[in-house]
């Protein structure tokens, strides 16, 4: 009884800050509530029916998946590659770690302005360089062909340093003796040593990085809101941006809550797959 009483403060906080808002969102998703409205009606699954019928929502889901599909593998493999390179280097470890980690600690909205300048079709340095090389100059953020790619590049830039630092921590936990044993056992090249020691022993780190990277890239919002507003022609419309627009621009909180539920379902499904399938294949020492 005393034990239950001791958990009461935490229990109340959990109830007020997490459980009730989540429950409210779930309930709202089945209503036509709009911000400021004096009444709301229970409309069952209408919000979800509308979502399925809405071409814009379908585009939003597709864009989000493409974005996740680009950013997650590139930032994981890139982060691992950078970590291996920096670890193998004789000096400058702290310097490189700081350089690549900087995007993680900097404010995305502020950095987005810098990216807008870099990728500007006429005055941007990127296109200036391409022009100098005599290659075509895309419109990057203002063309529907390249906008998602450009946003994904910014996304990779944002998270590659974070993944690198996580992998570096994982690498330092691998006993040096194992590399010595691998050498004596006949692992001649770097690839053999990577396959025999580094990759398997990084398993838990990689699973963690994969989970974090997927959630982070699923939640892409700031760059879209600042740089493209989902445009041009919905080519960079992503789930969270659609939700934000429905909820805060059109004030359709019920519909917005329904999108949030879909988002939550996608995240939970991914986590379930990861713990069910991948966790079994990872060796925890």
């Amino acid at each position: 009884m005393a034990g239950a009483l001791m958990t009461l403060p935490a229990g109340i906080a959990y109830l007020l800050l997490l459980l009730l808002p989540t429950l409210a969102t779930v309930l709202l998703a089945f209503t036509d509530y709009e911000l400021g409205a004096t009444a709301l009606g229970w409309i069952g699954l209408d919000n979800f029916r509308e979502m399925l019928a809405d071409r814009g929502f379908g585009v939003s889901v597709r864009n989000t998946l493409v974005y996740v599909g680009l950013v997650t593998p590139v930032s994981i493999l890139g982060g691992l590659g950078l970590a291996l390179l920096v670890e193998a280097g004789a000096r400058g470890r702290a310097f490189f770690r700081a350089v690549f980690f900087l995007p993680v600690v900097s404010l995305t909205v502020a950095m987005a302005a810098a990216w807008q300048y870099l990728l500007h079709p006429t005055i941007g340095p990127v296109n200036a360089a391409l022009r100098a090389m005599g290659v075509g100059t895309p419109f990057w953020l203002s063309s529907s062909d390249t906008v998602l790619l450009s946003l994904a590049a910014i996304g990779v830039w944002e998270s590659i340093g974070f993944n690198m630092v996580l992998f570096m921590a994982g690498l330092t936990a691998i006993p040096r003796e194992l590399y010595a044993a691998a050498e004596v056992d006949g692992a001649r090249g770097g690839f053999d040593r990577f396959r025999l020691v580094t990759w398997p022993l990084l398993g838990p780190t990689t699973l963690f990085v994969l989970t974090i990277s997927m959630i982070r890239s699923l939640r892409v919002f700031d760059t879209v809101a600042v740089l493209t507003q989902g445009g041009p022609n919905k080519a960079s419309e992503v789930l969270l941006f659609t939700m934000y627009q429905q909820g805060f621009t059109y004030l359709r909180l019920g519909y917005s809550a329904a999108i949030t539920l879909v988002f939550l379902a996608v995240v939970l499904a991914l986590m379930w797959v990861q713990t069910r399938v991948l966790d079994k294949r990872v060796h925890y020492a």
Binding site: E177, L178, D185, G186, R188, D192
Partner: protein
């Protein structure tokens, strides 16, 4: 049949010299124990022989092949690490198979799924499996083949590391304190097994240890290393009874060898605290007289001591005493029956046969001595 020969190996870490020109030969089929206190450079020397570290200078020849500039994989050696260094994600079977798979299967054939489909890979894998079982059986590992290292006890992991070393039939074994993580009972048992493995394989073995009991019981030859130098390489009997250096005499043997300040006059007559010791040295000046605890026994004539305390060991009796003239601590190992009449605080004389006395010069090197009947011990 192959041996290991190292010549003039020098190694320093920064400004700190670790190895100062070490030369050592392990003959084909021989078991050499490299023994020394912690930090004497013995593990560094072994890692240089394995190729995990590079020497600043010196040559290494394994199996009549200069390997100084070869990678560890090309040196045809197997190593047992102090930490065992088993691959934690692989089963016992896979761990033991690694040295074979790395050498016999191509990169493609080692791939998880595709590798099994390649022609020839199945046959190679089957033969590797047979050899793994053959290496595992004598060590009693067969029931454990599908476990992972995390599910094994320390002794079992140690056996897996041994099986991984023997499976490939290398030209030489290198063992780096393989028993130091085992409990005392298991250590004695595994000592025996390592000697058996060495005998069955018949290849040159270099065994690094800080435990003199391991070195003396297991090795054909013991190499004593201190401060980055080899002080003496000899049979265990010679290392114990005939040490070439005072530091060797002090390091080998438990309880520690007794040392007394002595001096020899111009004719080499040795005196301890001014009293003739019955020895004639082939040197003069300040010397150290060293006596093993079992060389001392109560006698009518000998070193005057005061008994401090007695330790009963079951099969023996340790008499701790102080040499009266200069207060040096002495230990004598006596028969348990000798306890009769020995009391702490009592005065006693400890005698020794001149043949058991060891003399060392001021530089720590051994000085030849012979008994001199003309000089009657006090």
């Amino acid at each position: 049949m192959a041996g290991i020969t190292i010549t003039g190996v020098v190694k320093g870490f920064g400004a700190t010299p670790v190895l100062r020109g070490v030369s050592l030969a392990v003959e084909p089929g021989e078991f050499v124990a490299l023994v020394g206190p912690s930090g004497c450079g013995k593990t560094t020397l072994m890692r240089i022989i394995a190729g995990i570290e590079t020497a600043d200078a010196g040559e290494i020849v394994i199996n009549e092949r200069a390997v100084t500039r070869l990678r560890p994989a090309e040196r045809d050696i197997a190593m047992v690490f102090q930490s065992y260094a088993l691959y934690p994600h692989l089963t016992v079977r896979e761990n033991i198979a690694v040295p074979l798979a790395m050498r016999r299967l191509s990169v493609l054939e080692r791939l998880p799924l595709l590798g099994r489909l390649l022609p020839g890979a199945r046959r190679k894998r089957a033969s590797i499996g047979d050899e793994v079982r053959r290496a595992a059986a004598p060590l009693g590992l067969e029931p454990l083949l599908d476990r992972r290292p995390g599910q094994l006890s320390g002794g079992q992991r140690q056996r897996v590391a041994l099986a991984r070393a023997v499976v490939r039939r290398p030209a030489a074994f290198l063992m780096d304190e393989p028993l130091s993580n085992l409990d005392a009972a298991l250590r004695v048992q595994t000592r025996r097994e390592i000697v058996d493995i060495h005998r069955a394989a018949g290849v040159a073995t270099l065994y690094v240890t800080h435990d003199q009991a391991e070195a003396l019981t297991m090795a054909d030859k013991v190499a004593v290393m201190m401060g980055g130098e080899l002080l003496q390489v000899a049979t265990p009997e010679a290392i114990y009874a005939d040490p070439a250096d005072l530091r060797v005499a002090g390091f080998i043997g438990s309880p520690r060898i007794n040392t007394l300040a002595a001096e020899a006059d111009a004719e080499g007559r040795v005196r301890v605290a001014g009293v003739p010791a019955g020895l004639r040295a082939e040197a003069c000046g300040a010397l150290t007289l060293a006596l093993r605890p079992e060389a001392l026994r109560p006698a009518a004539k000998g070193l005057p001591v005061a008994i401090e305390h007695l330790e009963f060991l079951g099969d023996g009796l340790l008499l701790h005493a102080r040499h009266v003239p200069d207060g040096a601590a002495l230990v004598a190992r006596l028969e348990p029956e000798a306890r009769e009449g020995l009391q702490p605080g009592a005065a006693l004389r400890l005698g020794f046969a001149p043949g058991r006395a060891l003399l060392f010069g001021a530089d720590g090197r051994r000085v030849a001595a012979r008994a001199d009947a003309g000089l009657v011990p006090a």
